[in-house]
């Protein structure tokens, strides 16, 4: 049969159509492989590096999300090398996060870490942030964000809104809006796609939506205020974005 490929993943046979990835096979078999940056409906981003697998006869540990499936491939998600390196990546990921009661376990990240025997990260986060609660229905909580980029793709490429983007570079990268201002100052339409795709709960619905009347007042007031704030932050802030309202480096990395 042309265009069908037979693979073995963790010793189990799976048949996949042409164009499928190894991750498709993993998911078809229901193997619990972390895939934090992969939106089930979207193209692979390759950012979280947690779906690493071992492939017989191949060097390194490719990420299953952008690894084309080939007929006869023998894949292991449980190979000790894959588990060890994946655990290392998950530790780095978990070390980005600051626990708190509202952040209840960081959803998919917490699950993946726990399955790899990681209950605590080995290091403290490099950055601290205030929660951006300027929108009525959801919050952007950067202390629960792993920078997978799913929200920015949902906002820009799926919804064609472009309210949020990855900004900055290196470990100072963050999800943000123009001028590192407040969410409410952006062109966000509260469509909810970012909230729906977020794997950690960094973008999450507010527990109790604000009352309608109050929302109108505060939104307009905040819009004006944060637009001004964003402008001054933009002209005043340092290159790395220091001085911007929602980005506070905890320690002075060079």
């Amino acid at each position: 049969m042309r265009g069908r490929m037979k693979l073995a993943i963790d010793g189990r046979a799976v048949e996949l159509p042409e164009g499928a990835t190894v991750l498709d096979g993993v998911n078809r078999l229901g193997i619990p492989l972390p895939q934090l940056c992969k939106d089930p409906d979207g193209a692979p981003l390759g950012a979280c590096r947690t779906c690493l697998v071992h492939v017989e006869g191949q060097k390194g540990l490719p990420a299953a999300c952008h690894l084309p499936a080939r007929d006869g491939m023998v894949v292991s998600t449980e190979h000790p090398d894959a588990v060890r390196v994946r655990r290392g990546v998950l530790d780095l990921t978990l070390s980005m996060l600051t626990p708190s009661p509202e952040r209840a376990g960081f959803a998919q990240v917490g699950d993946a870490a726990a399955r790899h025997g990681l209950l605590e990260p080995s290091q403290a986060p490099l950055h601290r942030f205030d929660v951006d609660a300027t929108k009525s229905f959801f919050v952007l909580d950067r202390e629960a964000c792993i920078l997978c980029g799913r929200c920015t793709v949902a906002c820009g490429e799926v919804q064609q809104i472009g309210a949020i983007s990855l900004v900055g570079r290196g470990h100072a990268t963050r999800v943000g809006v123009f001028g590192d201002g407040a969410m409410a100052a952006s062109v966000c339409t509260s469509c909810g796609q970012c909230v729906a795709t977020c794997p950690t709960g960094a973008l999450r619905p507010k527990e109790t939506p604000a009352k309608i009347v109050r929302r109108v007042e505060t939104t307009s007031a905040r819009t004006a205020a944060s637009a001004a704030a964003s402008r001054s932050a933009c002209s005043r802030g340092s290159r790395a974005g220091g001085g911007a309202p929602f980005f506070k480096p905890t320690n002075a990395w060079p």
């Binding site: 692979p44 540990l61 390196v85 820009g156 949020i164 990855l166």
Partner: protein
């Protein structure tokens, strides 16, 4: 229309122009204010947050207003070895500023640079983007107070050919261009090394003095501003070129030395500098560097440039070029050593038009400055090479992507392309053949990750320089989803000779690997750019070419291949430099460190660079490099460093992350004492 509006109106309203538009505004206004960013966003119809995402991503874009003068002190590995950090200290004290700060009156901004890419004239200080080399603390007072003036070299106007053969095969048409070039031949020439290195140490003044003095004495010499011949240590150098005689180099020649030089020349007593430096090399790529006039296509043609192209267009085939390249073993000189012919053949075979050739002239790796040398000294060879590769790969459009700070490279490549167009060697139906190729120049805005080819493509498309997942590979779906070949400048430079002399000739050098450029800097007597067959040793590079240690203390270590490379111990100096061998030459950066230099400092500098240059996309590189750097405080836990390094190397998305821990790992293995380990 406002000035800014007029500036932006030049750009079509497409996202690909985002970086060029931001650069244009920054050039005009010195920084990117919120207003400016919003104007760019509105004009290009790109969401403001994404403009912010891009502007905050590229290190050379300024989001805060700088002082009226910008003083930047290089503290890269080479400059550090030569006292760059001391210079920064003196500047900081003199200006009362720390690096990154601006004086309260907005007069001066002081910054620390990762690399000025003029490592062979280290230490380097830039005032208002004018680099000065071999700076001593005593020079700083003048540098900081004297008004900086960016003085472009007087541009020569090269007239288009008086008449072009408008019919006949490519060889006939090219022969007509050759006759035109011959007609313009001037006799003996005095060629001044006016590359970045030379200009940083007074070549402009030497050039002016030489022009005046030759005119005053009515000597039968034409004075030419060329690039550097690789003898950065002898800059400003003057090369005497006479018909039928081997060129002779004298240097350094300061402006004040010019009368004596001309006296010696008249008396036939010119003392030649560093003849052995050139003679010990095998100069194929560098053959015309420092001899040919980069600003004159006629001179390039007289030196043989474009002749191979003409022959190929007359009776060659793309397949034959690919075959020669395959036989030559030519592999990517950006440091990854991927077979060039494989890329070209795959692109040729891929479906989709137009196909693109991207020339990677970004060169953002501290400690190497070879591509700049090539572009500054012999830009027409780059164009000929690009044309040959485009022809082989079936590409009809090309982009030369040049580092944002490499002004001279960009100017010379742009001028060369304009001339080539006028001479019928670029554009529609080149030399009357069926082959058409359009070439465009783009400038980077910093970012080591642009060495990663998909990050470079993202940047051209107007996005943050974050690598893409593969597959698809660029040769299948690259720029705007079209088949795209990306080659480094040095890789391309080898192409005309390979096509001309055959693949076997190149493969016959360096045991099948050909020749490679190396950039010598740090504690050597003769820092510069040299070309040797691969398989050469560091011992040869350091002693025979570099002239040994500049400090009298033995050279103990070499930083080989920059931040993606490794620390090499002196006991490995006899090992042949072979791609993927035990001592991998990488991009060819060779920074010598003497016995007193701190290996630990060097490693921290390299790792900190990798951390800052991480694009931020994937977790292992973004988070891991920062954690690794922190582990080097105090006595590092060797096993911990190894474990984390494995994660960063194995799990990172692109080559930057995969190579980021190499310097640390090699230094821990070879120089444990530098970290208080045994």
């Amino acid at each position: 229309m406002s000035e800014r509006g007029a500036l932006l109106a030049q750009f079509p309203r497409e996202r690909t122009w985002l970086l060029p538009a931001l650069q244009a505004v920054q050039r005009a206004e010195r920084w990117l204010s919120a207003d400016a960013l919003e104007a760019v966003a509105a004009h290009l119809r790109v969401p403001a947050s994404e403009v912010w995402g891009v502007a905050s991503h590229y290190p050379e874009l300024r989001l805060t207003r700088p002082g009226r003068r910008i003083v930047r002190v290089c503290t890269g590995v080479s400059c550090h070895a030569r006292g760059g950090r001391d210079l920064l200290g003196v500047c900081a004290e003199r200006l009362g500023l720390r690096a990154g700060e601006t004086t309260p009156d907005g007069g001066v901004t002081l910054e620390e640079m990762d690399c000025a890419f003029a490592c062979a004239v280290a230490p380097v200080v830039e005032v208002d983007h004018e680099p000065r080399g071999r700076v001593t603390p005593g020079d700083l007072e003048t540098l900081l107070t004297a008004p900086a003036a960016h003085r472009a070299l007087p541009a020569a106007t090269i007239a288009p050919p008086a008449q072009r053969a408008l019919s006949g095969p490519p060889t006939t048409r090219f022969a007509a261009l050759g006759r035109e070039a011959e007609r313009r031949r001037t006799g003996a020439r005095l060629v001044v090394g006016a590359g970045t290195c030379g200009l940083a140490v007074g070549a402009r003044e030497t050039l002016e003095a030489l022009r005046l003095e030759v005119q005053r004495r009515t000597l039968p010499f034409t004075v030419v501003a060329a690039g550097c011949n690789g003898m950065c240590w002898a800059q400003p150098a003057v090369t005497v070129v006479r018909e039928g005689q081997a060129p002779r180099v004298a240097g350094p020649v300061a402006a004040g030395d010019v009368p004596r030089l001309l006296d010696a020349l008249a008396a036939g007593r010119l003392s030649e500098t560093g003849a052995d430096y050139l003679a010990r090399q095998q100069r194929a790529l560098l053959e015309r560097c420092g001899v040919t006039d980069p600003a004159d296509i006629a001179d390039a043609i007289r030196h043989g440039t474009y002749a191979t192209l003409a022959r190929v267009l007359a009776d060659g085939t793309p397949e034959r070029i690919i075959e020669q390249a395959r036989a030559s073993g030519l592999a990517g000189r950006g440091g990854a050593y991927f077979q060039a012919a494989v890329k070209w053949a795959a692109c040729r075979a891929a479906a989709g038009t137009p196909k693109y050739l991207v020339v990677n002239g970004e060169e953002g790796e501290p400690g190497i400055f070879k591509d700049r040398h090539l572009m500054e000294a012999d830009p027409h060879r780059l164009l000929e090479a690009a044309l040959l590769v485009a022809y082989a790969a079936g590409a009809s459009r090309g982009i030369v992507y040049v580092h944002g700070e490499a002004e001279l490279s960009a100017e010379r490549v742009a001028a060369a392309a304009a001339q080539a167009r006028e001479w019928g060697l670029l554009g529609e139906r080149i030399l009357g053949s069926d082959f058409s190729f359009e070439l465009e120049l783009r400038r980077g805005a910093g970012g080591f990750v642009l060495g990663e080819e998909t990050a470079l493509l993202e940047s051209i498309e107007g996005r943050r320089a974050m690598p893409r997942t593969r597959p698809p590979f660029p040769v299948e779906a690259g720029l705007w989803g079209k088949p795209t070949v990306i080659n480094n400048v040095e890789t391309l430079f080898a192409v005309p000779s390979i096509v001309e002399r055959g693949g076997a000739w190149f493969a016959g050098l360096g045991g099948g690997h050909g020749t490679k450029l190396f950039g010598l800097s740090g504690h050597v007597n003769r820092p510069g750019i040299v070309e040797l067959p691969l398989g050469a040793t560091l011992r040869t590079l350091l002693d025979e070419l570099g002239g040994g240690s500049s400090t009298g203390r033995p050279i103990r270590a070499v930083v080989l291949g920059g931040p993606s490379g490794s620390l090499v111990h002196a006991r490995q100096f006899e090992a042949p430099l072979v791609p993927r061998g035990p001592v991998n030459p990488g991009t060819g950066g060779v920074v010598a460190l003497d016995a007193r230099a701190s290996v630990r400092d060097a490693v921290r500098t390299l790792l900190a660079f990798n951390m800052r240059e991480s694009c931020g996309k994937c977790t292992p590189c973004r988070e891991g490099t920062a954690r690794l750097l922190a582990m080097l405080d105090g006595t590092p836990d060797r096993e911990g460093v190894k474990a984390l390094s494995e994660v960063v190397q194995v799990a990172s998305l692109c080559g930057l992350g995969q190579a980021a821990p190499l310097a640390v790992l090699s230094a821990l293995a070879e120089f444990p004492d530098a970290f208080g380990l045994s």
